[in-house]
Amino acid sequence: MTEAGSELAIAVCIKFTVDVNRLRPDPATAAPDLGHAHYRINDFDENALEEAVRLKERHGGRIVGVSLVEREPPRELLLRALAAGLDALYLVPHAAAASGDAFVTATILAAALEEIGAVYEMVSWDLVLCGDASCDTYDGQVGPRVAEALGIVPITYATRLDVRDDTIVAERTIEDYVHVVEATLPALVTVGSETNKPRLPHLRQIMDAGRKPIVRLTTAGLGRGALDRARATLELLGVTAPPSARRRMVVGGNGPDDVARKLVRQLQSDGELTQ
């Protein structure tokens, strides 16, 4: 499997997203307080990157990351993505990146993937890996749309995958079913948190990550007039947090039995233990 010629050219689509668990509503407007947001690599994209690294460990090859970004993400996140195993990272800055319009994102990403593939003199990527969805929009469209734009077969919601020669075998989880499929490469695969547990990178990989190439592509330079074709299809009218009104009472007591009795009494008086 590792003989010459079977090395894989893998692209991983990576989104640098808001860390949703640390995002708070602005108390005045209930809109997300993006000014104080923390950023991270999208959870599922870390799984995609990990899967790419595992495939590379088995088959050899090259892993290139591609990210459509509104503006330059914090450099420590770029270093982390590189440390996790990317050979190079391509950033495509575009104002529409923040809009969450999957058509725009996928169209530009697909054009960028073709452009980068041309840099490496490739006819096609063997494998494009994406997260099932991104944690901010939880939309799930970008992977299948990129596959469609590139004209390659999408394998969505893969929980396990392996490549043998030019065939990919994947286990997909579709609601209650496990669907085992195979396809001839090239393919686009989307993965999630069940697929693997991303490793922490080695300290030296982090400290040396800055030596790997970070290339910035401009959308204007992308082939086939990608930018003109990627006009917006959606408009975000507003984002607000619905209010929460919990009592937030801490039930304490003298040991578990006492706590339990107090809680039962409280729930009884609230009328929650009627049946």
């Binding site: 450099r75 420590e76 982390r80 080695h202 300290l203 030296r204 982090i206 400290m207 990550a209």
Partner: protein
């Protein structure tokens, strides 16, 4: 603008790695290991986390790249170390102690010794390598550690090593060293041991370091010390009975006391940031508590002025301790340990003593609930914190003496550290305060002189 406290992107990524390691891998093991009555069992429960740390390069982070280490400077190390200490300082010291254990080799070893000992440390396929650092000795006669640089051969370090047929024969006992007994009580991979190689000389000339590998016959490990805090840290009781090591394992002949002083110089900011981290954990916990707990009143307690002011005082001390530690680390990165002795001691003493008070103040803000060890972490943080002023060269017997010895020197420039100028520290600054003014001793000296 040479003074810049901005973390580099690399440092931020390193910080995140250490934080994830601490939260994902260490945190789930801590509670049970801390509660384990048998100290060796508690220590062993952390072995999987240690192996992970080794795998990630955290254990060997500070060793030079040429030997397979991470090549990090002291400032970088501090950034990672703070994140681990904020979760548990015991595992952080187990991870870090190799730096101290191999300090004698790094600072005083020959090229050959560096290649051998550092190479071994950085390339262990089992990911379990440990190197202890054995100076301290048990209470007894003479006993103790603080007077290691006492001018009399009958005082200070009493573990001896005599050269017999090309081998050093060690006799004596060490008490307290971290990670010396290893995962199975049969010894860490390596131990550097401060010994008296010349029985006729005092602490300033008669001490050296011997590298004692695991499996050396004549070394015995008594059960570990059962401590009030830092329970995850293994502290050992080692007995040497004609233990033999080859002569080429000798490091820094006649400079053992400098190794002790400079080793603790090297760790000053490292302990400083650890104390900061434990205080930070207490501070952040109590801050959150103050914003949600009403104490039966109508508002969260942070709206009481006393709580608000106290939290402010807590926060400012945590910040101050962090930046002093960074400053000392920066000085070490600039000049190495040589000259940092004073600043390092200031950092270690100031941060450890300040942070004890910070954790205690956190308990005062929180109130009685802080005393509930099942529900809240203040108990463990306090127990751990109380070790800081007394270990790593106790503040009273060792750290302050180093600073004193430097300041008493005619050449001492009180602005040198502020100006980031090189300071000199040598044997002439050691030994201060080891000979007391006990009235009979003074009288005896006077009579002898007559």
């Amino acid at each position: 603008m040479p003074i810049d406290f901005t973390l580099t992107p690399e440092q931020k990524a390193l910080q995140k790695l250490a934080r994830e390691f601490a939260q994902d891998i260490v945190q789930p093991l801590v509670r049970a290991a801390d509660a384990e009555p048998d100290p060796q069992k508690g220590f062993q429960m952390m072995k999987p986390a240690y192996e992970q740390a080794y795998e990630l390069g955290l254990v060997t982070a500070g060793f030079p790249r040429e030997f397979g280490g991470g090549g990090l400077g002291m400032t970088d190390l501090l950034i990672a170390h703070e994140e681990i200490c904020a979760v548990d300082c015991g595992i952080a010291f187990i991870i870090g102690v190799q730096g101290l254990g191999l300090f004698p080799v790094m600072a005083y070893g020959t090229a050959e010794q560096k290649k051998r000992f550092l190479g071994e440390a950085c390339n262990d396929p089992t990911h379990t390598y440990q190197c202890g650092y054995a100076i301290s000795e048990p209470a007894g006669m003479p006993g103790g550690t603080a007077n290691f640089d006492h001018p009399s051969p009958q005082a200070g370090i009493q573990t001896t090593a005599d050269l017999v047929n090309g081998e050093y024969v060690i006799n004596g006992r060490k008490f307290w060293p971290t990670s010396s007994a290893g995962w199975d009580m049969k010894g860490a991979t390596m131990n550097s041991v401060v010994v008296r190689t010349d029985r006729t000389k005092g602490g300033l000339e008669g001490l050296s370091v011997l590298m004692v590998p695991r499996g050396t016959p004549g070394v015995r490990y008594e059960p570990n010390i059962d401590k009030m805090g830092m329970r995850i840290n293994q502290n050992c009781d080692i007995v040497y009975e004609n233990a033999r090591v080859p002569a080429e394992n000798l490091v820094g002949p006649g400079n053992g006391e400098l190794v002790v002083n400079n080793g603790f110089t090297f760790t000053g900011p490292w302990i400083g940031i650890a104390a900061t981290a434990v205080a930070r954990a207490a501070y952040e916990y109590v801050l959150k508590w103050s914003k949600t707990y009403t104490a039966g009143g109508t508002d969260p307690i942070i709206y009481h002025q006393n709580v608000g002011y106290m939290l402010g005082d807590i926060a400012m001390r945590v910040e101050a301790c962090r930046y002093l530690s960074w400053k000392a680390a920066h000085y070490l990165d600039t000049y190495g340990f040589d000259g940092a002795q004073g600043l390092s001691a200031m950092t270690k003493v100031f941060t450890s003593e300040t942070c004890v008070q910070v954790v205690y103040d956190c308990m005062r803000v929180m109130g009685c609930n802080a005393y509930d060890r099942a529900a809240h972490p203040l108990d463990k943080l306090m127990r751990d914190m109380l070790g800081f002023p007394i270990f790593d060269g106790g503040n009273m017997g060792m750290q302050r003496r180093r600073l004193w010895g430097l300041m008493a020197d005619e050449r001492f420039d009180p602005r040198a550290y502020a100006n980031c100028d090189r300071v000199h520290f040598g044997k002439e600054n050691e030994g201060i305060g080891t000979v007391t003014t006990r009235p009979e001793a003074v009288r005896e000296l006077a009579t002898a002189g007559r």
